[in-house]
């Protein structure tokens, strides 16, 4: 797709064939003149930076010549801000890493290629719980200490679709222990997340909130038809606490009316008691929730039948005729119909198919087991309450019930983004070998990687593009067998060496994953960077760390230029710092080794000048010979070195240099005079008679040394 400019300055995407599937987004830029050129590059995160250049104009006052516009791609998840996504990304690192290490240790232990293991789901469940704890929305202000009797709906935190989707997958794929009471888990799930569906359709939660807001304006609550309607709705999805609490708001409980409406109150209370005694097939209820829980099926059946017979008995009781409040009578009997599982009542009470679905589990088919029968029931509910719109959670739920892993993958990838899919594949593969094969199989159409790896790599790329999260990308990249390491190397090379902290973090990551060759290259780059920016000490340090002797040699030559000028003055002191840095001789210092020896020579020479000790002079000669022998000593230093040591060569008491040593120095002198003939030779700033006086001193010394030997 190449951009094309149109006369009025608007940019229209131009494409050859597929014109029908194009979406055109206008870009506002305020440039007065027509656009001549345009450049597009990635900006931070998901943003594109578009630079627009106007046609050059003769008149400089015709407005701006260029403009840069940032285009944010994709609206992102409106529920979760960028900063919150980062919080989730940080928090999910530890659970993810733990699960991966468990997987690898398990597969090592069992020596089988597949990590599928009998109690593997327990590890995944732990992982899933850790992740769930991250996904909670912002905590709402804590509820008042004195409970408001009119407050029906309570919320502890703002629910999010992300958390709802995660929990839904955990319920179906991971938690094997609660497979037996899967329907009840769906009841709990809907109780937590029903409010999320309010955005696309009417919900029971929405009805409850509306009613609660109107509560202060209602004089006689039981005369309001909505009171009964809302209660049967809440009862149909099993929100027993709310229904009982609402029933107790009934006017007959008021002290001044209790005597007149004794029978009516008795009926209300009887229904309330029946509701609070509803048997549930589940291990235990959330603390304080109503209903009686039964773990084993036979116990439950017994209690269920007893409970239903109590309802039927109450339904047929003669007291109803004696009750003269028609609203109460009809309302209560509606509630009984819901409890008896009257299909019609359930259908009127619920707002959309998931609510109806849950009510079926509660009152008609509490023993539904197996995904297939659950799917059939869902289809029946969809027929009864056809959805008016699509919601991302319903789409996901249908995908799960259809047992179609591909659809589930596509849904979560489209609706919840790369974080979700990279982490949720662990749930999908937890209990099903089939999904495991589907997701872990290497595919040719994906370049030989598996679906799992593909999504992890995609997520790692997102992390890598952000300054604050790039350092967690290695965790995901290293879990990718095929292409992870290659991308990790790219990532590490891409980081800036300018900032010390980033550089050290980069090197630390190399150390953790044993990527010594990369860290050595990075240190080399850092060394050259610092050197070029005038921080010679830091440059030398990093080059030494990377053991790059050839580079050290090269910079040594540059360094000696400045050393040479200050050969005999006090300012040599400033070199102390860098010489210290070079440290012991075991470290590669390249050509810089010379500085070390040069310093030693300077020191002993100073001692010779301050005192007259022959020992000091001998030491100085030793250093001199070492320097002259060493190939790293630059040629331009030879003459100044020899000139500085004239005093040693002319030592009064005895010749300090042996015959062979003197010959070595004479040879060096000879070499120098040959080098002088070459074009690029730079003459040291020494008196013109220097070479001849050195030669004379060496000759004298040679003579004395021959006599001595």
């Amino acid at each position: 797709m190449s951009p094309n400019t149109v006369g009025n300055g608007a940019l229209i995407p131009f494409s050859g064939d597929t014109t029908d599937s194009l979406a055109v987004y206008p870009l506002h830029h305020d440039l007065a003149r027509p656009i001549s050129r345009l450049a597009i590059s990635w900006s931070r995160g998901n943003s594109l930076r578009v630079s627009l250049f106007a046609e050059p104009s003769v008149n400089p006052n015709t407005g701006d010549g260029a403009k840069v516009v940032e285009v944010k791609l994709g609206g992102g998840d409106p529920e979760i801000t960028d900063a919150d996504w980062r919080r989730i990304a940080y928090g999910s690192v530890a659970p993810f890493a733990l699960l991966q290490s468990r997987r690898s240790s398990l597969s090592e232990l069992s020596k089988s290629p597949s990590p599928y293991h009998l109690d593997w789901w327990e590890h995944v469940l732990q992982y899933s719980k850790d992740i769930t704890s991250l996904l909670g929305g912002p905590k709402l202000s804590p509820s008042l200490i004195i409970e408001d009797p009119n407050e029906i709906v309570q919320k502890n935190e703002e629910p999010t679709c992300l958390k709802a989707a995660w929990e839904l997958m955990e319920i179906f794929y991971v938690d094997k222990q609660s497979q037996a009471w899967l329907p009840e888990r769906l009841v709990d799930w809907l109780a937590d997340y029903d409010s999320l569906f309010t955005s696309t359709q009417e919900t029971i939660h929405g009805k409850l909130v509306d009613f609660q807001n109107d509560l202060v304006n209602i004089q006689v609550i039981e005369d309001d038809p909505r009171y009964w309607e809302v209660m049967s709705s809440a009862l149909s999805v099993g929100w027993l606490d709310i229904v009982v609490k609402m029933l107790r708001l009934h006017g007959s409980y008021q002290l001044d009316q209790l005597s007149n409406r004794e029978l009516e109150n008795g009926l209300v209370e009887a229904v309330a008691v029946l509701i609070s005694k509803m048997p549930r097939l589940r291990p235990e209820s959330v603390v304080g929730n109503l209903g009686e829980c039964f773990k084993s099926k036979p116990d439950f059946i017994k209690a269920w039948e007893k409970w239903r017979s109590q309802i039927t008995k109450l339904d047929c009781s003669p007291f109803w005729i004696q009750c003269d409040n028609q609203q109460t009578r009809e309302g209560l009997r509606d509630l009984l119909q819901v409890m008896l599982g009257n299909t019609e009542s359930l259908c009127t009470a619920s707002c959309y198919w998931i609510e109806l679905y849950v009510s079926h589990f509660l009152y008609i088919r509490p023993f539904t087991i197996g995904i297939e029968s659950m799917y059939n029931l869902a289809q029946k509910c969809i027929q009864l309450k056809p959805p008016t719109g699509t919601h991302r959670l319903t789409e996901l739920m249908i995908g799960i019930l259809e047992e179609n892993t591909e659809v589930v993958l596509a849904e979560i990838s489209r609706e919840f983004g790369p974080w979700m899919i990279a982490h949720a594949v662990e749930l999908l593969t937890a209990g099903s070998e089939q999904a495991e094969i589907l997701l872990h199989d290497e595919r040719d159409n994906l370049g030989g990687i598996s679906i799992v790896e593909l999504h992890r790599l995609a997520y790692a790329q997102i992390l890598s593009s952000h300054t604050l999260t790039w350092q967690i990308a290695p965790i995901y990249l290293t879990s990718c067998m095929k292409q992870g390491m290659g991308l990790l190397e790219n990532l590490l090379y891409r980081q800036s060496v300018q900032h010390k902290n980033t550089l050290l973090k980069n090197i630390e990551i190399c150390r953790l994953y044993e990527l010594d060759h990369i860290s050595s290259n990075i240190m080399k780059v850092a060394g050259v960077y610092h050197w070029k920016h005038g921080r010679k000490g830091a440059g030398v340090y990093w080059l030494q760390q990377s053991q790059d002797t050839s580079c050290l040699d090269r910079i040594a030559q540059q360094l000696f230029d400045s050393v040479g000028k200050s050969i005999s003055d006090e300012s040599f002191k400033q070199w102390e710092g860098i010489i210290e840095l070079l440290g012991s001789e075991s470290k590669p210092a390249g050509g810089l080794e010379f500085l070390h020896k040069y310093r030693d020579f300077k020191k002993s020479l100073q001692m010779v000048y301050s005192g007259k000790s022959t020992d000091a002079a001998r030491q100085a000669v030793g250093s001199l010979i070492m320097l002259m022998k060493n190939p790293s000593t630059p040629q331009r230093f030879w003459l100044p070195l020899l000139y500085d040591s004239l005093k040693l060569l002319n030592w009064k008491d005895s010749p300090l240099l042996s015959v062979s040593e003197t010959n070595l120095l004479l040879n060096k002198l000879q070499e120098l005079s040959l080098a002088r003939q070459r074009p690029h030779f730079t003459e040291p700033s020494l008196p013109p008679q220097a070479p001849s006086s050195i030669r004379l001193a060496l000759a004298t010394n040679l003579g004395r040394a021959i006599l001595d030997e």
């Binding site: 928090g91 050290l504 973090k505 000490g537 400033q574 860098i578 210290e580 440290g583």
Partner: protein, 352 residues
């Protein structure tokens, strides 16, 4: 906010900030009811750097934003001290400027600010500062090899350059030892001792006669205890924490570190990575021998906050999955430690 009971010895509270925390300090504020912390933050989404004051209340636990000051660029070094009824916060930025903020000493409201503009003190991004205890003298050192002294007056600033190595030596850490002496740290575990009475260069250099196997590194932080001014404590690369006693110059006492060669098993290492900050632990048991190095606290790149004591097992106070960039021990309540976590959060640890 999450509460984790780390064994029975301390309570940890984490406060997500949704911003990167470059540095954190307790404010030396004289208030009976409130405790204050100063944070150097960087908000990636808005590209804003600032210095924020937060108030901390232990019961019920809360860590609330009070006020902030926008900085022209990211903070690279942050220090706080008390001077003449005022709380002084000094911060150097990555663009090379230096800022002093004055806050009310009882409620920590920011009152005024004076600054040295960019390029006056340092030419590069990385610099480190130290503010004299109870004084207004601030020493700044940088990667560019410059050492400056900044004196804060009532409404003006004076500054002068003490030394310029011309980049041959880079300085990465600095700490006052006395009103006229200070120590600096740099590359190759280089430590220098300076005396303002003897200008022209460092008066003493730490010549590490390292074992041949010992790997060299960078000093990130220095601390000097007011009662033992001759000992300089330094923390840096490879989990290294060492004490340099000016009286026995050639022998560093290595308290922790992995770079100490294969044969050297006597030294344990609390961390394997960069030690970002080191401070003497203000909370000292009475039976500490006077010949030993006092216990010190460190935080590291591999997420450790711990206490090191010579000849003892080190104690891990916190082991995070992310780096701990900086920490500070409250000088009035030395049991309380605040630290900044790389994953955009602050943790406050109360030792029992």
């Amino acid at each position: 906010m999450a509460v984790t009971a780390n064994s029975e010895t301390s309570q940890i509270h984490r406060f997500p900030q949704y911003k990167y925390i470059d540095a954190v300090r307790w404010l030396p504020v004289l208030s009976a009811f409130n405790r204050f912390a100063v944070l150097a933050t960087f908000d990636y989404d808005s590209d804003l750097s600032s210095i924020e004051i937060h108030s901390f209340k232990p019961n019920p636990i809360s860590f609330e934003f009070q006020s902030s000051w926008n900085s022209p660029s990211r903070i690279s070094s942050l220090k706080a001290s008390q001077f003449l009824q005022k709380t002084v916060i000094a911060a150097s930025t990555s663009s090379g400027s230096l800022h002093f903020l004055f806050a009310d000493s009882s409620d920590a409201t920011l009152e005024s600010e004076v600054s040295v503009p960019e390029d006056e003190l340092h030419s590069v991004s990385e610099s480190s500062i130290d503010l004299m205890d109870g004084g207004v003298e601030c020493v700044t050192v940088g990667d560019d090899g410059r050492v400056n002294l900044v004196t804060v007056g009532n409404s003006n600033l004076n500054y002068r350059r003490l030394f310029d190595s011309g980049g041959l030596v880079s300085y990465t850490a600095v700490k006052w030892a006395s009103p006229v002496e200070f120590a600096t740290g740099g590359y190759g575990f280089g430590l220098h001792w300076w005396d303002q009475r003897k200008p022209g260069g460092p008066v003493s250099q730490f010549k590490g006669n390292w074992d041949k196997n010992l790997t060299s590194g960078i000093v990130h932080s220095i601390d000097i205890h007011p009662s033992r001014k001759h000992t300089c404590l330094a923390g840096g690369s490879l989990g290294t924490v060492l004490a340099w006693d000016l009286r026995w110059q050639q022998q560093p006492i290595i308290l922790s570190g992995t770079g100490a060669g294969d044969g050297n098993t006597a030294v344990q290492s609390i961390s394997e990575s960069e030690v970002w900050e080191v401070q003497y632990d203000r909370c000292i048991k009475s039976n500490t021998s006077s010949t030993r190095i006092l216990p010190s606290m460190i935080c590291s790149e591999d997420g450790i906050l711990g206490v090191i004591e010579q000849g003892e097992e080190s104690i891990e106070l916190l082991a995070e999955p992310c780096a701990i960039n900086s920490f500070d021990i409250d000088r009035h309540n030395p049991l309380d430690v605040i630290c900044s976590l790389e994953w955009e959060a602050v943790a406050i640890l109360t030792r029992q």
